[in-house]
Symmetry: C2
Subunit: 209 residues, 2 copies
DNA sequence: ACAAGTTATGAATATTAGTTCATAATATGA
DNA sequence: TCATATTATGAACTAATATTCATAACTTGT
C-alpha cells in the first residue's frame, strides 16, 4: 500500500465526516436539535445511521462538535478585531462592521449558534453548550473593558460597561438574525451603519437632544 | 344541588387547571419543553397524568396554552403604552420603562416566552408558536409606525423605522433577560435609564460626537 | 344511605427515536 | 485472485415517554 493511497483514504474519511456535519448543520439549524432524528441526518448525508456512529459517539456529541466549530469560527472573526491596537471608538466601529462578514459567510452556522434550546444572548441553560458560552463571555468581557477604558478617557459617557456591551451585542445579534431570515429587507452595510449611528449618537435629532 | 355548590366545583376545577399550568410553567421555564415529561408535570402539580389529560388534550396543547397566556399578559402591559396619546419620544420612553414592571411581575413567564426551541427576537421557527409571534409582530409594527411619524416630524433622525424598532427591542429583551438571570447585577431603573440614554443620545460623549 | 354523576388514578399501551452489532460490501497489497 | 483490513449497512434492540382507559374515589341531591 503506497503512502498516496493511505492519504486518499484519510482525505475521504474526513470528507465524509464533513458531509455528515454539513447535513446535521442544515437540519439542526432549520428545525432544532430535538426535532431532527439521527435517521434524518443519515438520509440527508446519504449514509446509514451506523456510519454516523462510526464518526460520532452520539447525537449529542455530533451536536457538540458542530457548536464548538461554529463558535470557534465566529470568534476567529470577532476577537482579533477587539484585540487590535486601535482606539476604543475604532474598535467598536470595526466590531460592528465585521458582522457583515459574519452574515455573509456563516448564515447557517449562526442559525445553529443562535437557534436552540439554548438561546443567543439569552442563554437559558448555560450548562448545555460550554464552548459557545465561553466565546460569548470572552467577547462580552473584551467589549466591556473597551468601554471601561473609553469611559475613563472621556470618549464614552459615564455608563455601566457591561450593560453597554450587552446592548450593543443584542442590537447586532438581532440584526444579524433578521438579515439571515429576510436577506432582501435591507443592505447589510446600511443596517450596520444605522446601528453604529444609533449606538454612538442615538436616535434623536441633534436639535431635539 | 344548590347553585353555590356548582360554583364551588367550577372554581375548584379552574383552580386545578391553574395549578397544573403553574407547575408546567415552573418546569418548562427552567428546563425547556423537551426536557420535561408529563409525569414530572403531574408530580409537580400533585395530580396524576390522567388528570392532566382531563384538562389538556396533549403536552403540546398545554404548552401552547401557557405560551399564549404569557404573550397576552405581556402585550397587555406594552400595547396600551404604545397606543397612548402622547408624543413619539414620550411613548418610546414609557415603553422602555414599562419593562420594569415586566421584569418584576413576569420573570418566569418571560423565561418561557424567551426560552424554547423558539428563540426570542430571533424566532427560528415562527410556525411553532403563532400567538407569541403575533404579539411580537404587533409590538414591532406599533414601534415602527411611531418611529416613522417621529422621523417625519423631525424628532428622530432619518432612519429605517423597522431596524430601529428591532434594535430597541433587542436591547430591552437582552436587558430583561439578564435581569432575570442575575437580579443582583444592577438596579432595574438604572439599566433602563441607560438604555433610554443610549437609544436616544448614544454612547459617545457630546464632545466626541 | 343510596344512586347518579363527576373527577382522579396510574398501570398498561403505543410510539418514537437513539444506539448497537452481525453482516455485507469494498479496498488494498501480494 | 485471494486474504486481510477497513468501512458501510440497516434491521433489531432498548429506553424513554406521550397517551389511553378501565377502575376507584369522591360529591351531591334525594
Amino acid at each position: 500500500m503506497g503512502k498516496a493511497g493511505l492519504r486518499r483514504k484519510e482525505r475521504e474519511k474526513l470528507q465524509h465526516r464533513e458531509e455528515i456535519l454539513d447535513a446535521a448543520l442544515r437540519l439542526f439549524s432549520e428545525k432544532g436539535f430535538h426535532n431532527v432524528s439521527v435517521q434524518e441526518i443519515a438520509e440527508e448525508a446519504e449514509f446509514s445511521v451506523g456510519t454516523l456512529y462510526n464518526f460520532f459517539a452520539s447525537k449529542e456529541s455530533l451536536f457538540a462538535g458542530l457548536m464548538s466549530s461554529c463558535a470557534k469560527r465566529i470568534s476567529e472573526i470577532l476577537v482579533p478585531i477587539l484585540d487590535e491596537k486601535t482606539d476604543e471608538r475604532g474598535k467598536i466601529s470595526n466590531f460592528i462592521h465585521a458582522h457583515k462578514q459574519i452574515i455573509e459567510s456563516y448564515a447557517s452556522s449562526i442559525r445553529l449558534y443562535l437557534s436552540q434550546d439554548v438561546c443567543s444572548v439569552l442563554t437559558v441553560r448555560p450548562d448545555v453548550e460550554p464552548e459557545a458560552d465561553a466565546v460569548r463571555d470572552t467577547i462580552q468581557q473584551k467589549l466591556s473593558s473597551i468601554f471601561k477604558s473609553g469611559v475613563r478617557k472621556g470618549v464614552f459617557k459615564e455608563m455601566d460597561p457591561r450593560a453597554a456591551s450587552l446592548s450593543l451585542s443584542a442590537m447586532l445579534e438581532s440584526f444579524v438574525f433578521s438579515m439571515i431570515k429576510e436577506p432582501e429587507r435591507m443592505q447589510i452595510e446600511l443596517g450596520l451603519s444605522l446601528i453604529e449611528e444609533l449606538f454612538f449618537k442615538g436616535a434623536l435629532k441633534d436639535t431635539e437632544a
